[in-house]
């Protein structure tokens, strides 16, 4: 990847689920360390765009390039390894493994990436502290509130120090105060670790944490504004 090239980009993306088109010639480019909010009404295709960019869903047409590598040409094992080591994910709800403690949840991707248990848990504890939920380490997801669980999920997403963090409605299940707090911690942690963030949301309040907004409507993308520009 040469200087000036985007870290992650997509062009000509098409994806349909049965007869329903989700993406129609969508395109996006994200630079390293950039926070991009993908906005749009419900059903506009913004989650599908995120899934295509993360290699979760294979587009029917078009290309997704990550550091010059075409993800649409990669196999499942390759994509899994990429998601494990280079990407991080935060979803709206139900993402923590219920039987593991919060500490074990955060340590899980590190262990899957080959770290030893002790090392993984040490690093996980540091991320919990950073996300201000260190006291939850021994609790299971069922014993913590929605906001706390979401911060644990952010800690887990960033624990492997990914280059790209995908967040799909990360505050969708939280009240405004908790949502604000989570976004604050998420953007600060991502900024500190130099990770790019793809933030899917339909809330302008959440999008305000981004550097730039991309609007998806009827499966087509449109860059509307540069935050702070």
């Amino acid at each position: 990847m040469s200087a000036g090239e985007p870290l992650l980009s997509a062009e000509g993306l098409r994806k349909a689920f049965g007869p329903t088109p989700a993406l129609e010639d969508a395109a996006i480019a994200i630079a390293a360390g950039e926070v991009v909010a993908v906005m749009g009404p419900s059903g506009s295709g913004k989650s599908t765009l995120l899934h295509c960019l993360a290699g979760i869903v294979r587009p029917d047409a078009g290309r997704v390039l990550y550091r010059g590598r075409d993800l649409t040409a990669c196999g499942d094992a390759e994509l899994s390894a990429l998601r494990r080591s280079e990407f991080g994910f935060v979803f709206q709800f139900g993402q923590l493994v219920p039987e593991l403690s919060c500490l074990e949840n955060v340590a899980l991707p590190l262990r899957l990436d080959g770290a030893g248990r002790r090392d993984a848990e040490r690093r996980a504890r540091a991320w919990l502290e950073r996300l201000e939920v260190a006291e939850l380490a021994a609790k299971t997801p069922g014993q913590v509130s929605g906001g706390q669980g979401q911060r644990v999920a952010v800690a887990r997403a960033l624990a492997t120090e990914p280059r790209v963090l995908f967040a799909d409605e990360p505050t969708g299940a939280l009240d405004s105060l908790n949502g604000e707090h989570v976004m604050q911690l998420l953007s600060a942690a991502a900024h500190d670790s130099g990770a790019a963030v793809v933030l899917v949301t339909h809330e302008p309040r959440v999008a305000a944490w981004s550097d730039r907004e991309v609007v998806v409507r009827d499966g087509r993308t449109r860059t509307t504004a540069l935050a702070g520009a």
Partner: protein, 789 residues
């Protein structure tokens, strides 16, 4: 939804307490009905859960209905065998007349299967006809059971056809048979004579004078009680597990109802309604499965027993117990399960603070069971009768129930101490620490079945070995005996030997005649044999026809003693009879009665020249010609041709050996069937768990978790409870087996082969359950499945 409680109270104003009770009952019924509607009306997911539960309950119900049919099966069989009985209980047989029939037993065997045979000849026009026949066969006509008819027509029955070459004129109906697979025939004979002419036939004027039915050996009966107990308890465990399928989804539905204003009591009734609907559907499924079993039952033969479909009819009280008991148990299990769940109105279902399982009452069960069984140990085989059987059954039930009750405690105690390990191990142990109850309850079924099976296999091995020691295995020799009107002494033996020699399947033949010499209270067998045989068996310097010998130390009779032969004919043991010793020879009874058991008095035919004998018993030991296929059946054919009344005994106690081998095979098959049944319920439970956890699993898949890691977690999750269950089962089974061995008077020893077999079967269940979950896991963990969320 039923009327709100408040509304119910208002409408009851002014009514008496009776009216309120009626209203409360009405409300309860409406809530039960709502539960049933939720069970069937919740879309595909609800239907799937309902059908899985119904299938599980149905399998259990079908097994229970079959078990409830056992008394009727036994009764019907006994009634038929009694009705066809041709043994007269009266002292004086009827006189020959228009209503009498001559009948003689000519039972035989084919490939170790008994063939019931009767020769018949009507003495008058109104001679009795045995059940299952329209008329008596005429001379030379063969009436065969359907199974025998099929066998005789098949290639497999070619050798038997040489014994029964007559055309089959009719088949014996169901009323005349013990079971559909019974081999039986009536053969018309024109030469049959009654006892007044020295014939072998009995005279009858009716059938069914005596109760028949040999029944099982007492030891076998004892073990059968344990078999039934060991196999039915897991069915109960399985039904309880099946009722809990879909429990988590149900809890969510109940939470939604709480939000709408249902109180805890109402939610319990709604849950009971759901369980009731599933159990009722399970009864229908079970009824259909039972009918299927009934339709196929005539094709199955177990322990040489077969049953007619019509006999597989549950006894009314037991059937009512199943029909009422299963739904009641389903509701009870559901309500007990709900005790551990707090259903909150805000749509949140939270596990109640889990209480540590208590050990004391779980331990009390097997302790009480062993306490009941211990006094019976050392009681010998008589421990298996009457009250002893009840004590045994209760003791075994308590021990096995104790295994089922101890397992959840053991699993909880062990998994709480488990830690470390890789990601898969961690996922599995954490899951089990969060809720080990579901797995442990299901595995309890395996543990009960395996504990019972190991106990029985241990006992069977020892008892079987004992019977084999008693009787031994076959050494390729059969004994043939026949009773004949006496000719010159020794001539009948020579005739039989000559008739058998050279026939297919027949090797060396040694034949003697045998008489009983009685003097006062002393009695000894007298063997009439040729000098060739005498020289081989006794230490005699010389032997000539007319010589007599007494075995040293074997007989109280002395040379010159006057005796009565067969109680009738006076004879004096020759004064010159020599006292001799037997040669050091094979004393093993399996070598044949002629070879291994020389009689105390041995005479050459000439020594009996003056005795006017009326009948004689011919005894021949025949070595099988191993080169011939079906050698023993060819010997039977040869003997049959000489004398159909002659007996043929294969030496070696194989009857018991076969019974035990069959019991062991059936037991292993039963236990494996239970393992498969429980495995199926574990698979359903695992699939349900995958469905419940599809969101976190999809997320795990999204962030790149290898499916193999989660698959290994599922494997551990199944393997840990199964391994603990098997360990507990082996311990309890070995203990129970030791007690049972003491009861039947056997030294304690363990059948490690069966333990290994069950461990392997348990391992196979774990692997199969895990393999069965893999496709669903694959689907659930596809990152694309995030979209479905």
């Amino acid at each position: 939804m039923s009327a709100a409680p408040g509304r119910g109270r208002r409408s009851g104003t002014g009514a008496g307490s009776g009216g309120r009770a009626v209203q409360r009952a009405g409300a309860a019924l409406r809530e039960l009905a709502l539960g049933a509607r939720l069970a069937v009306g919740g879309g595909r997911g609800s239907w799937t859960r309902l059908l899985l539960t119904a299938l599980g309950v149905g399998l259990g119900v079908a097994l229970l209905l079959v078990a409830a049919s056992v008394p009727r099966m036994v009764d019907a069989r006994d009634q038929r065998t009694a009705a066809r009985s041709d043994q007269l209980l009266e002292q004086a047989p009827p006189r020959a007349g228009a209503r009498t029939l001559l009948i003689a037993d000519v039972d035989t065997e084919f490939r170790d299967v008994e063939v019931r045979g009767r020769l018949v000849r009507a003495e008058g026009a109104r001679a009795p006809v045995p059940p299952g026949l329209d008329r008596l066969p005429r001379a030379g006509e063969l009436f065969a059971s359907p199974a025998l008819a099929r066998l005789l027509r098949s290639e497999r029955g070619r050798v038997l056809r040489e014994r029964l070459p007559q055309p089959i004129a009719a088949t014996i109906g169901e009323r005349g048979l013990a079971g559909p697979a019974e081999l039986a025939f009536y053969l018309g004979s024109g030469r049959l004579t009654g006892p007044e002419h020295g014939g072998r036939a009995r005279r009858l004027d009716r059938f069914g004078d005596a109760a028949a039915g040999a029944g099982l050996d007492p030891v076998l009966r004892t073990l059968a009680v344990v078999v039934l107990t060991a196999l039915l308890l897991p069915v109960a465990v399985f039904i309880a597990a099946a009722v809990r399928f879909g429990g988590e989804a149900r809890d969510r539905r109940l939470a939604a109802l709480r939000l709408l204003g249902a109180d805890r009591r109402m939610t319990r009734r709604v849950a009971a309604g759901e369980a009731l609907a599933a159990a009722l559907l399970g009864l229908v499924v079970g009824g259909l499965l039972f009918l299927l079993v009934r339709a196929l039952v005539e094709r199955v033969e177990l322990w040489r027993l077969s049953v007619f479909a019509a006999d597989v009819t549950p006894s009314l009280p037991l059937a009512v117990a199943v029909v009422v008991g299963v739904p009641a148990a389903a509701v009870l299990v559901t309500l007990v399960a709900l005790r551990g769940v707090v259903v909150e109105p805000l749509g949140l279902v939270r596990r109640a603070q889990p209480r540590r399982r208590r050990l004391w009452w779980r331990l009390a069960l097997p302790v009480a069971g062993f306490a009941l069984l211990l006094p019976m140990a050392g009681g010998g085989r008589e421990a298996s009768d009457g009250a002893g059987e009840a004590q045994l059954a209760v003791g075994v039930v308590l021990v096995l129930t104790g295994v089922a009750a101890l397992l959840p405690w053991a699993v909880e105690a062990v998994v709480l101490r488990l830690g470390g390990g890789g990601v898969a191990w961690q996922l599995a142990t954490r899951r089990l620490q969060l809720d080990s109850g579901a797995s442990a309850r299901v595995v309890s079924g395996i543990a009960v079945a395996v504990a019972g099976a190991i106990a029985l296999q241990t006992t069977f091995s020892a008892v079987e070995a004992d019977y084999v020691r008693d009787g031994g295995g076959s050494r390729g020799v059969v004994d043939v005996w026949q009773t004949r009107a006496a000719d010159a002494p020794g001539r009948e033996a020579a005739r039989l030997a000559a008739a058998l020699r050279g026939r297919p399947g027949v090797g060396a033949v040694a034949a003697v005649e045998q008489l009983q010499a009685v003097r006062g209270r002393d009695s000894d067998a007298v063997r009439v044999a040729g000098c060739d045989l005498i020289r081989r068996q006794l230490r005699v310097a010389r032997c000539a026809d007319g010589d007599s010998f007494l075995l040293a130390g074997a007989s109280r009779l002395r040379p010159g003693a006057r005796v009565r032969l067969d109680g009738e004919v006076a004879w004096t043991i020759p004064a010159d009879a020599r006292v001799v010793r037997p040669r050091a020879r094979d004393r093993d009874p399996r070598a044949g009665a002629v070879v291994a058991m020389p009689d105390p008095v041995v005479v050459t035919p000439g020594a009996l020249a003056g005795a006017r004998l009326r009948s004689t018993t011919v005894l021949a030991s025949v070595r099988l010609d191993g080169a011939a296929d079906d050698a023993i059946d060819r010997v039977r054919n040869a003997v049959w041709r000489v004398d159909p009344f002659a007996g043929v005994l294969e030496l070696g106690g194989r009857d018991y050996g076969r019974q035990y081998a069959n019991l062991r095979r059936a037991l292993f098959a039963g236990a494996v069937a239970v393992l498969a049944l429980i495995g199926a319920s574990m698979l359903v439970g695992a699939l349900e768990q995958l469905r419940e956890r599809r969101r976190p699993l999809a997320v795990l898949g999204a962030f790149g978790t290898p499916r193999a890691a989660v698959a290994r977690a599922l494997l551990w999750q199944t393997a840990i409870p199964v391994a603990l269950g098997l360990t507990l089962a082996v311990a309890a089974g070995a203990g129970l087996g030791a007690l049972l061995l003491r009861m039947v008077g056997e030294p304690v020893g363990f059948d490690l082969g069966s333990v290994a077999g069950f461990a392997a079967a348990g391992g196979a269940v774990v692997l199969l359950v895990t393999a069965g979950t893999l496709p669903a896991l694959h689907r659930t963990m596809r990152p694309e499945s995030l979209r479905a969320e």
